[in-house]
Amino acid sequence: MTLLLQGLISGISVGAIYGLLALSYTMIYGTLNVAHYAQGNLFMVGMLIAYQFSVILGWPFWLTILLTTACVVAVILILERIVYRPMLSGSGVYLFMCTIGMSIFIQNLAQLFFGNESFAFPSLFGDLNIRLGNGLTIVPQNLAILVVTVIIIVALTLYLKLTKMGIAIKAVSMNRRAASLMGIKFSKVSAVTYGISGAIVAIASVFTAPVFQVNVNVGSVGLKALIAALLGGFGNIYGAILGGVLLGVIETLGSLYISSAYKDIFSFGILILVLIFRPQGLLGAKRITKV
């Protein structure tokens, strides 16, 4: 029982990381119908920037979060304005390929600026571990990630429900053309959506940096987050979190009770099953196309 509980705790912890990143993917896809592949690389950029502010310059944590968020949002807004927006009128495939290209570009640029070394980002809580007895351990940093995830999801829900821009984002996600006819400025909605997504990635990168080794390759976790977003239902913010947590728990319990050699098979296997039996994802809405 202890083993199962510890496995669940670990699975939920890593799932929260997947979920946070998945949330940033789903935000853009849900509103603009764009699968922004470079999101994992922005996560990496966020970590490297946060490392510079927090460790190299020694600035306080709150300032690191603010400045990292500002930097990542600036990067994603530049991409949105000069790369993605001009391509919106074309085929979605071209835009998707473009996001893959940007992913490679960002990765290489980061390598030029930051090199190939890995850096340790100190935990907010030092070496503190919460021992619950019976061999159960909770890592405070993981707990902080869970709390931040909950705060972000609540804040995002309130923003989308209560603010004018939030309602405009929802309108665009339902029907872009109709929203434009109702006077909603698409370019503004697009920029705000990318900005929110960038802010989520930045916050995720600062809080999860102590869990990773900070280097130019950490963006590869974006692929797992993409799976989580698909699992939960691409476009659904609660689905992203559910997908992330589910993926984390399945991976951990699978390697714990079956075999660690098949860890990736569990993630991709469950994705294939969900796509076969519920293509819209666990919480995604069915798309009905009128013919």
Partner: protein, 415 residues
């Protein structure tokens, strides 16, 4: 105006991408390096006819390694060590008859890219000798081509899977993993008396080959691993594997394969999840500056690993190597033992060429002659005396060391 702006941006991005594709490393020469030695006409000893005068020749060495990808830092450490050796040879005039041209190719830590760069080095660049690849999978991908073309390949990888390939043209620049695996198990079982062992190996050729070697040695003790766990270098969570090991109350866990960044995460999670002290053991990745600088003293203290050379050695040559290495490293970091393999490789090449004497590098049998000499000569490198058995297995030093809280490496077994 918008179109003009779009074109300008496209040009900027293309230029950026082109810059990213440049594999030359900061602070290091990307241009071919020449020893600049005066020409010394001499004779071709291959035939008994009237010796023809041959001027100073240039040997092309292709450094094929992963300058990009997840193991890029390892490639830098390897390459910088190689360049320190080259620079030293140039300054001292150690190479009597040959200059060197270094060709740098990026295998992207990918097997198909490794095959491509092998092809490029052999058929386009006309390399006479290969130094690379960093990892077993890429080395194996290139080896078939090097064998076919008859080009000697000096590789820093010590994976047993590469040894088992059985190439006539391969020279591993360190003691193979199957030997170090045996020493580590000897130490754990015979010296420390451990009976309950676990292994975590990376899901690639290096990890699988090490697992085979470890199991073969354990058979001699009539033992089996209590836990055999695989992990991927892209994983961030290892709790599934570690909880199984914890459940079996293992005395020690042996980690083999993967990169230093993954090691830091595994060691950190061991300390978080385990409610008892387990001995952590592993390959040379634990001795790298990347690992030692990334973990707290209490995490690294007591870790046992196998190394061929450490920067903590106090002999004059090792210390000079460390200083020269730091001067060209983009982070000013200390070298690791993979760096020492790079350094030793360059000396092995230069020594073999000195033994060969003046020879036409464009002659059909030049590479074969060079290979013979590479296998014949023995050098005293940073790793100690290095020589080869008839089948190309490396005979050199390797130590089992214990890491101190200050990052010092203290020899506990082997030599």
């Amino acid at each position: 105006m918008k179109k003009l702006l779009a074109i300008l941006l496209a040009v900027v991005f293309v230029m950026g991408l082109a810059a990213c594709g440049n594999t030359s490393q900061p602070g290091q020469p990307s241009q071919p390096s020449q020893t600049g030695q005066p020409s010394q006409p001499n004779n071709n000893p291959s035939d008994g006819d009237e010796p023809a005068p041959i001027g100073r020749q240039t040997v092309k060495i292709a450094v094929n390694t992963c300058f990009t990808g997840p193991a890029a830092r390892g490639a830098e450490l390897q390459y910088n060590g190689f360049m320190v050796g080259l620079n030293e040879i140039i300054e001292s005039g150690y190479s009597k008859y040959y200059d060197f041209e270094i060709l740098v190719n990026d295998d992207e830590n990918d097997a198909s890219a490794a095959a491509s760069v092998a092809n490029k080095a052999v058929y386009q660049q006309g390399a006479h000798i290969i130094y690379g690849h960093l990892n077993a999978v890429q080395t194996l991908a290139g080896l078939a081509l090097y064998d076919e073309a008859g080009i000697p390949c000096l590789t820093p990888t010590t994976s047993s899977s590469v040894t088992a390939f059985g190439s006539d043209y391969l020279l591993q620049m360190g003691v193979a993993d199957d030997t170090t695996c045996r020493w580590i198990l000897d130490y754990l079982v015979l010296e420390l008396g451990y009976k309950n062992l676990a292994v975590m190996y990376s899901g690639n050729e290096q990890g699988y080959a090490a697992l085979d070697a470890l199991n073969a040695k354990l058979d001699e003790f009539n033992m089996d691993f209590a836990c055999e766990e695989e992990y991927s270098t892209t994983d961030i969570d290892f709790s599934g594997q570690l909880l199984r090991i914890r459940e079996k109350k293992c005395d020690a866990v042996i980690l083999w394969g993967g990169d230093p960044a993954g090691r830091v995460n595994i060691v950190t999670q061991i300390k978080q999840l385990f409610d008892y002290d387990i001995t952590i053991v592993g390959d040379t990745q634990f001795s790298t500056a990347s690992f030692l600088n990334s973990v707290d003293p209490e995490l690294k203290e007591g870790i046992i690993c196998a190394v061929a050379w450490t920067p903590t050695l106090t002999d004059e040559r090792s210390q000079k190597f460390c200083e020269d290495f730091k001067a060209i490293d983009s982070y000013g970091a200390l070298p690791s033992d993979v760096s020492s393999r790079g350094y030793d490789s360059m000396y092995l090449i230069a020594t073999a060429l000195n033994e060969l004497g003046p020879y036409d590098v464009e002659a059909d049998d030049f590479r074969e002659k060079l290979l013979e000499k590479l296998k014949e000569v023995s050098i005293v490198g940073l790793q100690g005396p290095i020589s080869y058995t008839e089948n190309g297995a490396c005979i050199s030093n390797s130590y089992v060391v214990s890491i101190g809280a200050d990052g010092s490496l203290n020899v506990v077994y082997g030599g």
